[in-house]
């Protein structure tokens, strides 16, 4: 059981190199559009997150990260 956390990612990784991306890099025009970004402007996004965090009992997992075209 205690080995599972170590083995699982390694297994995933061994598959890593052989995974053929089903959305090709050259097919990411829509994903690269700024309207598809989870957080376009960090400063403005941080602020609204901060407003809620200060006034609600819930906290964390506030903003999605990543996103976009994954180009390069």
């Amino acid at each position: 059981m205690s080995k599972l956390p170590i083995l699982l990612p390694l297994l995933l990784l061994s598959a890593c190199s052989s995974v053929e991306p089903w959305v090709k890099p050259y097919e990411r025009a829509h994903l690269a559009d700024p309207i598809m970004a989870f957080a376009r402007d960090p400063v403005a996004n941080n602020y609204i997150y901060h407003v809620y965090d200060a006034r609600e009992g819930g906290r964390g997992a506030g903003t999605a990260t990543g996103g976009g075209c994954g180009c390069n």
């Binding site: 990784l13 890593c16 995974v19 053929e20 991306p21 089903w22 959305v23 890099p25 097919e27 990411r28 025009a29 829509h30 994903l31 559009d33 700024p34 309207i35 598809m36 989870f38 957080a39 376009r40 402007d41 960090p42 400063v43 403005a44 996004n45 941080n46 602020y47 609204i48 997150y49 901060h50 407003v51 809620y52 965090d53 200060a54 006034r55 609600e56 009992g57 819930g58 906290r59 964390g60 997992a61 506030g62 903003t63 999605a64 990260t65 990543g66 996103g67 976009g68 994954g70 180009c71 390069n72």
Partner: protein, 403 residues
């Protein structure tokens, strides 16, 4: 995170009330941790360092008797080809006469200033990030350190980000120089974003935060039934546990609609060791118009259950080990309607500016409490006061320049 912005000081014996009210935004400070996490690069997408940019934001929150506004300036600049540095300066000017303040203290004003520095280092498909934030107000000091790693994998369809934050804070109490309590914060975050189709991206985020130390607001109090008091109740200081652990998990998605617009949706589940559980639902629509405009519309619904040691009115003094009457610990909903507009200018670039945007966003938030009563209404039996509710307006006005 017991102490809240816009929160109220309580009349503690021997403590000057006007001064005590200053700690109103202890909560704001603690949130620095969350802010830092966002600032130091977990927002960056894997394998490409973010572009150089500068953002100048004016923010304003107004509602429930509290006015908080100020500027925020963020500059991000690449050094060499694989290092990007960020610096952020942020100010909250608080002037509060919130429900807690008007029922138990006097209105007050204060300022909080925060500085952050962050560094992102790109190597192959990995971005390593470190950050430091210092936040100061007269009765609270927060030092926050963060570490993050973000990795593109599986043909760059997947981005995995891990973040760790350590916060070392000192809580003070105005008018009581002997009062000094440390708190520590540890925040673990895992985020996976996944491209599913040419038009759909989703992200799963898990975050665990633990606090230890003096977690309640040193000024706040709870009320209990007291037949000997003319109004029928009296106050005593809040007592919170000295540890707190919370977990949240969020799933969000964005979908590209034909003809160029985007639909977003999200759900977050929150639960914590103090018994609070909450659901958050988010919906958004992003619509470009012409080449230079983007409009955004959003709706957010938040529904929270109470902390197990929360009560609007305790039956007697020292009714239980832990006592809270923070409205943020109660049972309530918030509903937000938001609208925003972005205007792109200088897309061809002039001088060192590559392009820029001017943006405005307005959010209207309705807070409706289920078991927090409005004590500004007098002349009724304790516990018979109307439930409290209020609306807030959040304004964000910002200029972004890419250079």
């Amino acid at each position: 995170m017991p102490a809240k912005a816009g929160a109220a000081p309580a009349p503690l014996p021997g403590v000057d009330v006007a001064a005590t009210s200053r700690i109103d935004s202890v909560r704001l400070l603690r949130v620095a941790a969350g802010l830092l996490l966002l600032l130091t690069g977990l927002v960056v997408r894997g394998a490409v360092l973010p572009e150089d940019r500068a953002d100048l934001l004016y923010h304003s929150y107004s509602g429930g008797g509290a006015d908080i506004n100020g500027p925020s300036l963020l500059v991000r600049k690449k050094f060499a080809e694989d290092v990007s540095v960020t610096a952020n300066y942020y100010v909250d000017n608080v002037s509060s006469a919130s429900i807690d303040v008007i029922t138990t203290a006097s209105p007050y004003e204060e300022q909080r200033t925060e500085y952050s520095l962050g560094l992102d280092y790109l190597r192959d498909r990995t971005i390593l990030s470190i950050g430091y934030t210092n936040s100061v107000e007269n009765d609270y000091i927060a030092n926050t350190y963060s570490l993050g790693i973000s990795q593109d994998m599986f043909g760059d369809l997947t981005t995995v980000s891990l973040g760790f934050i350590y916060g070392d804070n000192t809580v003070g109490r105005n008018g009581d120089s002997n009062f000094e309590e440390p708190t520590k914060l540890r925040d673990y975050r895992l985020s996976v974003s996944q491209i599913l189709t040419q038009d759909l991206i989703v992200a799963l985020t898990l975050e665990t935060i633990t606090d230890e130390g003096f977690l309640n607001n040193p000024y706040r109090s709870v009320r209990y039934l007291d037949p000997s008091s003319p109004r029928g109740y009296s106050y005593q200081a809040e007592v919170y546990p000295r540890t707190r652990t919370t977990n949240s998990v969020a799933l969000r998605g964005r979908y590209y609609l034909p003809g160029r617009s985007a639909l977003s949706a999200g759900y977050r589940y929150f639960s914590g060791s103090w018994g609070i559980q909450a659901d958050t639902w988010e919906l958004g629509y992003t619509l470009p118009w012409d080449e230079d405009w983007i409009f955004e519309f959003s709706y957010r619904f938040y529904d929270q259950g109470p902390a197990e040691f929360y009560s609007d009115l305790f039956p007697y003094r020292d009714a239980q080990n832990f006592l809270a009457r923070d409205k943020e610990m109660s049972s309530f909903t918030t509903k937000t309607l938001g609208a925003g507009v972005t205007w792109y200018f200088e897309e061809n670039g002039t001088g060192f500016i590559k392009r820029g945007t001017l943006n405005m966003n307005i959010d209207r938030i309705a807070f409706d409490y289920r078991d927090f009563r409005d004590l500004s209404v007098t002349g009724v039996a304790p516990g018979e006061e109307p439930l409290y509710a209020f609306n807030s307006t959040v304004l964000r006005l910002w200029l972004s320049i890419w250079f």
